[in-house]
């Protein structure tokens, strides 16, 4: 093999991937961005002028503000609940013996193996007024009225947590795997109680996993479409379903494009600043 430096090799090797993404991801994004800068007339369709009017409309309209608020509120809640469920789950998983661990890992990953539509329709059957949830709650005497979580914030949160918890578990589990188990023994031998070891030694070392898991869950929730569309429906729109409706119901493509671009910008802004925060906090501790 030649020992001479070939500075072009890395670029050549990444070129196919870069071209692939540029063509299939970059181009539609740029087209969406350009589309969002045109105005729309209900009689004449998309105009050829250039304007920020769509953005002004989305940002200024309380209707859209509410949708954006709901979306990021939902993302925040789902993230918090995924942390609350996923971190203990990952901890327990990391302590299981290998045979049980692989069985439980499969169960944890289960939701990801089912198509989003099937899974969500399953939840819809469960949540609906004549669903199992309603029947059980009536049988237990919590009320005579049928209970429905369809078209509710709670319903959306539960269905999204269900499918996103695995991402949190995997992410936290990966960083728990990196912990030297002797560092827990060391703390224990220095007089720490089991709770203190968990709080002061294990949890801080799992923190990078919790934080990166949070980013994944937050981003996936904020841009989730199928679950909010089925469980939330038209009554509880999120940004993704609002953009969809602008495109396909109102046929106001430029406004839909503006919503989509704003969602992307907001998502990126939140994740990048969160990541910065995390890096500043942990850079000197972890490689």
């Amino acid at each position: 093999m030649s020992t001479e430096k070939t500075p072009n090799t890395p670029y050549l090797l990444t070129a196919p991937g870069v071209l692939f993404f540029a063509a299939l991801l970059g181009a539609p994004m740029i087209m969406t961005l350009l589309l969002s800068l045109h105005s729309y007339d209900f009689n004449l369709g998309v105009q050829s002028d250039w304007t920020f009017g769509n953005y002004a409309e989305v940002i200024g309209d309380p209707y859209f503000q509410k949708i954006f608020g709901r979306t990021f509120g939902l993302a925040l809640w789902v993230t918090v609940i995924c942390v609350a469920i996923g971190v203990p789950e990952a901890y327990v998983l990391s302590r299981l013996n290998p045979r049980w661990r692989s069985i439980f890992l499969l169960i944890v990953l289960g939701p990801l193996l089912i198509s989003v539509v099937v899974r969500t329709l399953g939840w819809a059957l469960f949540f609906g007024g004549s669903g199992i949830l309603s029947m059980v709650s009536q049988a237990l005497g919590f009320g005579d009225e049928p209970v429905s979580l369809m078209f509710t914030f709670t319903g959306m949160t539960i269905a999204l947590v269900h499918v996103l918890v695995p991402f949190m578990v995997i992410s936290v589990w990966a960083s728990l795997q990196k912990i030297d188990p002797q560092s827990e023994d060391a703390a224990y031998s220095l007089g720490a109680s089991k709770m203190t070891v968990l709080r002061r030694i294990t949890l801080p070392q799992a923190m990078p996993g919790i934080l990166s898991g949070s980013i994944i869950v937050f981003a996936l929730t904020a841009s989730a479409f199928a679950t909010p569309a089925i469980i939330g429906g038209r009554r509880l729109k999120v940004v993704a379903t609002a953009a969809y409706d602008e495109y396909l119901s109102t046929l106001n493509w430029p406004l839909g494009a503006a919503i989509a671009v704003l969602l992307l910008i907001a998502n990126i802004a939140i994740i990048v600043s969160y990541n910065k925060l995390v890096e500043r906090r942990f850079a000197k501790v972890f490689e």
Binding site: A187, S189, Q205
Partner: protein, 348 residues
């Protein structure tokens, strides 16, 4: 009354007996090494003393108190782990102060004491460093300071030097021993490195497959091993199979070797052990004729592999400043009768 006592300590993992009814008494301030090949039960023993493993049967008694069932966080022992097990999310100072915090020592005092402990291991200027920015040797010292700052009655060292490079390891041996003697802390070291055990310990416990082979001071262990396993594991040695043919005569490959055989009857199969440095090798026509098969210069000494009628032998001779024997040379080996140790039976 001994300070730390193991009373028939036994650990089984399923059908496997890792430690076989081990009893040992350790005096206050003593430095004891548990030495043996991997899988001999030395680390298991240490973990039972630390409380990280509970024994199947037997007791651990510290200063007259039975601590067999005391959890590790109530034992107050200082442990240095093989991987050092530092807390990666804490600075060196916080690592060392952690044990004091757990003991409820106030912030100002614990930082001062942690600082002093780090000074003691010559890391005074690295208090704010995080483990990932430290070298192996520095991490090792932080781990040592962290274990010592709580002023433990017993210091447990689990192969603490095995991850260091050779030069640093030798320096740390001296440093660790000096520190241990200054503080007078009772110490148990687990190691598979016989040099480490020989150079630091007051007494060495040689273990083999869960059993104690011999407990002795380093010099005694080296000069008077109880069996060929100890003799072979501690230091280098030549083991020769032979038969007692007459009182005080052992025949090795038809060569009569005179040696004290009072513990063995005539006709018994025995093994002879002689250390490589106990030979005197010269060109004078006296002793066992040998031919040099390999000659290796080691700096302070020469290491030879020689062939003789007694079999292949390892010989070391001090470097006296002149050229040693070369490959193919003929020479003669002589030794004193007391340099030979006789073990019963066919062992190797």
């Amino acid at each position: 009354m001994s300070f730390l006592k193991f009373d028939s300590l036994r650990k089984e993992f399923g059908d496997f007996v890792a430690v076989h009814d081990m009893s040992l008494s350790v005096e206050r301030g003593e430095f004891i090494s548990l030495l043996g090949p991997s899988g001999c039960g030395k680390t298991t023993t240490l973990q039972m003393v630390a409380g990280l493993l509970s024994p199947t049967s037997g007791k651990v008694i510290l200063d007259g108190k039975d601590i067999t069932n005391t959890p590790p966080n109530k034992r107050g022992l200082g442990i240095v782990f093989q991987s050092y097990a530092l807390f990666p999310h804490m600075s060196a100072l916080d690592n060392v102060a952690f044990g004091l915090e757990m003991r409820g020592v106030g912030k100002a005092e614990r930082l001062e004491r942690a600082h002093n402990a780090l000074n003691q291991v010559k890391l005074g200027q690295f208090v704010d460093r995080f483990p990932k920015d430290m070298s192996g040797g520095q991490r090792q010292r932080v781990a040592l300071a962290r274990a010592l700052v709580i002023e433990p009655p017993v210091l447990l060292l689990d192969e603490p030097l095995s991850n260091l490079d050779a030069k640093l390891r030798e320096d740390m041996r001296i440093e660790l021993r000096l520190l241990q003697q200054d503080l007078g802390v009772t110490t148990i070291l687990v190691t598979h490195d016989q040099e480490e055990a020989l150079s630091m310990s007051d007494r060495i416990v040689v273990m083999q497959q869960g059993d104690v082979s011999q407990v002795a001071a380093p010099l005694d262990l080296y000069e008077r091993p109880l069996n060929s396993f100890v003799s072979d594991f501690v230091g280098k040695t030549n083991i020769l199979q032979g038969k007692v043919t007459d009182k005080n005569v052992v025949s090795v490959n038809q060569i009569a070797v005179s040696v004290n055989t009072e513990a063995h009857v005539v006709g018994a199969d025995v093994a002879l052990s002689i250390r490589p440095e106990k030979f005197t090798m010269s060109s004078d026509n006296a002793g066992l004729p040998v031919r040099v098969k390999a000659s290796i210069f080691m700096g302070a000494s020469w290491l030879y592999s020689v062939e003789s009628d007694m079999g292949e032998l390892l010989v070391t001779q001090p470097n006296t400043g002149s050229a040693g024997f070369a490959r193919g040379d003929s020479a003669y080996l002589a030794w004193e009768e007391g340099a030979l140790t006789v073990f019963g039976g066919v062992q190797a």
